[in-house]
Amino acid sequence: MIVKFLDVVLFSTYFLLLFFAIFWLLVLFFPENEQKKKKLIGTPFFTIIVPAYNEEKSIVETLTSIVHLDYPKEKMEVIVVNDGSTDTTKKLVEEFITCNPGDDIILLNQENQGKGKALNVGLDIARGEYYACLDADSFISPNAINEMLPYFQADTNVAAVCPLLKVRKPNSVLQKVQWTEYLVNMFYKLLNSKIDCIHVTPGPFSIYRTKIIKDLGGYDEKTITEDLEIAIRLQKHHYRIVQTFDAIVETVAPNSLRDLFRQRVRWYKGSVDNTISYRKIMFNKEYGDFGFLRMPTIILSGIIAIIVAATLLRELFIKSFQWFGALKAINFDIITLIKNFSFDFNVLSLPFFKIIIAATLFCLSFFIMIYSYRIIKEKIRNHGRTLVSMLSFLFLYGLFITFVWMYIAFIFVAHKKNRWT
């Protein structure tokens, strides 16, 4: 038997993926750490910080969703931090404040210094016992605060609660694919939440206990993924992060491959950077599953993607080269080959091992996708999401993410500087 490198890679990847799939299914069906949700007691003062950089297209709608929140206006303040916008963001916010005198909205202007700095500026003057960060391209459901705050009251060790994120008005196939991706990611975050392994508190309306974040020194202003850094820092200090599906936040998803690629490069590069920064957590027994599972898999998933893609591309290249060589050897007389083509099919010669791998992974992915819809109580056909977008997610999205990881590997090798956008 000739053992090919490709077979070893596929075999090992399959083993790892199957192991993780079974592990997460066990977490799903045999939970140990169920979140007990109670009713909100009282109405604690609440702050919403909106960092905004050139958000003229969406800032008004974002602020409108804030003032429509089902929470007493006198118990809520909104701090908009204009991070040196060069468009009409500042003017639009000023107009919005004028038009909504009953709402406590403050506008702070600063030179463009990045999202981390903008959040810290807002945090410095925040009066709320709890605060939320809301990206200026995101929109909240009215019940969000009432649904999320009880988790803090149920457990004093909860430092952050994340809402259910959805893609806003997905129109193109690319946005519909991201819509499915967000649902699957939310399902994955729910599983992570069950074993205290959430490693990111997304920018769109994650709520924090203000004192804890202030005690930890606020946001890291140098990182390109401050939401990921703060979450890992909370985990480092053994605070809990909870995921809920009761509060929905919609966010605008990139509508071009170029924008999506840049966004994902920033996210994944940021996650690798922060994993390296907090490497002491990795395989540290003190951090339980977060140290043994969550932190290593951030980098492991990238490594697996790169190895599998590189091996498959190598195999594809060799096969194409051989195929071209064979055609060249017969002077490209394809007509003769087509004319005399005979289809000899032998069931026993099929590569069963590879077929089983592909079928298992496909079934698992499909199960996760369908289960995500079920858990999030979303209709599959909602927004006209078609089979095309679901199949695109299953087959093409993985390939796209692999290219992202390959580019990140290139950034590391080439020592390129981090960019926020």
Binding site: F19, I22, G288, D289, I330, L337, S349, F353, I356
Partner: protein, 230 residues
């Protein structure tokens, strides 16, 4: 502060279940390989029966009971089938894990049957006169098989009148292959023999085509129209 937990039980259970799934895969692999081995034995047996039948028919040519035309047709059909089936057996042998030795023995048996077919076809040629062009191909299993692709192409081009006998030049288990290699004085692979012409190393489609067409002319067969361009 939360006391962090490690889901050790779940990890262990997941590992056990993953190993169980893999063991299931191994059992399925054993069953599949067994089915492949049975298929190989069936193929070999079938080819042996064909060979015996051909040998017996050959004996009756002198008595006029068997006809040369019919015999040649049977021979061509058998050799074409032989060429198709050997690809299956080689594929089985390459992917075998649990019964590698048995597959090697089957392959050896198959190569021997193929050699016998080659001898019988030569004897039929002596009795009936040449009716087809025989190509003997020694391939190198460790190298890219472009030569094999060229022969496949020529086979498609000329059809059943070109009979290809292919042997693995690295198959050391069978001394007869070495005897054949010595008899043709072959030292370089891949090697192709067309009639009396021995081509060593990679040979172009044009050279092989020319040699095959020359053979057709020698045996006074109807010259295929493909030879007009050579």
């Amino acid at each position: 502060m939360t006391r962090r937990k490690l889901s050790t039980k779940k990890y262990v259970l997941a590992l056990i279940l993953t190993i169980l799934v893999f063991l299931g895969g191994i059992v399925a692999g054993i069953v599949l390989e067994d089915a492949r081995l049975r298929d190989t034995k069936q193929i070999t047996l079938s080819e042996k029966v064909n060979l015996r039948s051909l040998q017996l028919q050959k004996e009756y040519i002198d008595l006029g009971i068997a006809e040369c035309d019919a015999l040649n047709q049977i021979l061509e059909s058998n050799i074409n089938e032989l060429a198709k089936k050997i690809a299956i057996i080689i594929d089985y042998e390459k992917t075998s894990v649990f019964s590698e030795e048995e597959f090697n023995l089957e392959l050896r048996d198959y190569f021997l049957t193929e050699i016998q077919f080659l001898f019988v076809s030569n004897e039929i040629d002596k009795k009936c006169g040449k009716d087809n062009v025989k190509v003997v191909y020694f391939y190198d299993e460790n190298a890219d098989d472009t030569q094999g692709k060229i022969l496949d192409y020529l086979k498609k081009l000329f059809g059943s009148k070109v009979l290809v006998f292919s042997f693995n030049s690295n198959f050391n288990q069978e001394p007869m292959i070495n005897i054949l290699l010595t008899s043709y004085k072959i030292q370089q692979f891949p090697a192709v023999i067309v009639g009396d012409n021995v081509f060593q190393g990679s040979t172009s489609v044009r050279d092989l085509m020319k040699s095959i067409c020359d053979e057709f002319r020698d045996i006074h067969q109807e010259i295929p129209k493909e030879c007009n361009v050579v």
